[in-house]
Symmetry: C2
């Protein structure tokens, strides 16, 4: 089983920040990443729809023989993890639990802020996870719908980004949280402006690194780790045409992406053919 | 044939502004609206994917026996109209041609600006349509990706909306356009701030009204109009759960929505069952 790959999925490119940390902690592992770029974003959609998409993607990755699944999307982690664990027998890890664990470990004042998409915040998944670890921690949350389009527009350090961050984070500042969970894989791109608005006393928590440690821990316990002498290969699938993903993805991954294949999840029968036809190589 | 409904589709709620104008011009007509809320937005996706979605939706509406199709989404109009016209035999109208016609009629200086999603602007559909009408008109375009999330956040008259509009519209102002096409169904919601930034001398063109006139003209020519003594019924379908559409939709339509049904376009076989199960009534 150890030879199999680690499956990672996200609604789009954001999950590449999680993949990046996994590649850092476990360079010997193969990975298969799927970005659902034809249906992105998930954060504005209903839990029912996000669960349906997550199931389709997990089926696809499981059919490619993965030994473990990482749900790198905060919204999908928040609403679909229970359903996926019920349906599939491989180990499945989301980004919420690791992020919550880190936040609970980091806070001194016992006041933690969480920002995320509308879907993630509405689910209360972070608040529940943090309180499971330490019921004494007070959790203040805020949905920040404009952060993803701002990050995608590349407006991460101008007056519009600053005013938007001030508007969204005002309540969290007033509540004097000392820890802020960046509960969406796009938000680390806005880290600079968020840190500036929150001020020096506040620690920003990004789930990616902690998630990678969790993956290593689980694979270790199950004796599913590859020997460290190996060097992992990385495959990428997307549901829209690969061009945009390739362009933006290297920024998120911090290195050049390999071949990216397009798959049609609506119509599993054709996917091999599609993948073959629509392969694109990063320049 | 005249008894049949007019089909209208959009990636989400925005197309309801077009439906509203159709209902005003042709109150006797039945309409069937589909909002692809599970896959919204289209403006950031590839032409290939938008064409695939548009085909699925058109098949669905045609199977419900429509006499005419209105593509109320600017992005879908820009990239999929040719493919749809080739495949389906009913009359099909988009919002680009009517908007272009209005802009060409309105401009005095011969300098027209067009704003829209990345997909619409990249297609050059408006520029081509305007130049087909009058090759002497100069067209200046700009994609405004943040306008849709701003409109959906309800930030239509604050400093963030103002700065965003100033940033996006700066080039168009400098080019001294006297007419600006709002090439996305969400943009009329930001009309106030756009008008303020562009200044008094600039006429804003919204395709919705002109599209409704075009629909009336085509149905009239083909003798497909219902007698004006009748009163049309209006049905709504969405691909995500109806709750969000119902909540936001009435703002776009300007009146209470009737029953809204959910359909699963991935899996046409189940749609009737789904529709029956997931019906929700506006409160």
């Amino acid at each position: 089983m150890a030879w199999k790959a680690i499956g990672v999925f996200d609604s789009g490119v954001g999950g590449l920040t999680v993949l990046k940390e996994i590649m850092k902690v476990l360079p010997q592992e193969d990975t298969i990443y799927l970005g659902d770029t034809a249906r992105v974003p998930y954060g504005t959609k209903s839990p029912e729809t996000v669960v349906r998409y997550s199931r389709q993607i997990t089926s696809f990755l499981v059919s490619r023989d993965i030994k473990m699944l990482v749900v790198a999307c905060n919204t999908a982690s928040a609403v679909s993890l229970t359903a996926l664990k019920k349906e599939f027998s491989i180990p499945i890890v989301g980004v919420i639990e690791p992020g919550a664990r880190r936040a609970a470990a980091v806070t001194r004042s016992g006041k933690v802020g969480v920002i995320g998409t509308a879907g993630t915040i509405k689910s209360s998944a972070y608040a529940k996870a943090i309180k499971r670890i330490n019921p004494g921690i007070e959790v203040v949350t805020r949905a920040c719908p404009l952060f993803v389009p701002l990050a995608e527009e590349g407006w991460i350090d101008n007056e519009i980004a600053r005013l938007t961050a001030q508007t969204y984070l005002k309540g969290l500042k007033e509540e004097s949280v000392d820890t802020l969970v960046l509960g969406c894989t796009h938000y680390p791109i806005l880290k600079g402006i968020i840190a500036e608005v929150m001020g020096d006393g506040v620690t920003l928590v990004d789930s990616a690194e902690e998630t990678a440690f969790t993956v290593a821990e689980i694979l270790g316990k199950k004796s599913l780790l590859r020997p460290t002498s190996e060097k992992g290969n990385h495959h990428f699938f997307v549901t829209d045409v690969p061009a945009g993903f390739i362009r933006v993805g290297s920024r998120f991954l911090g290195e050049r992406l390999g071949d990216v294949y397009q798959v049609n999840l609506d119509d599993e029968a054709h996917e091999e053919e599609q993948a073959g036809e629509d392969k694109q190589t990063a320049p």
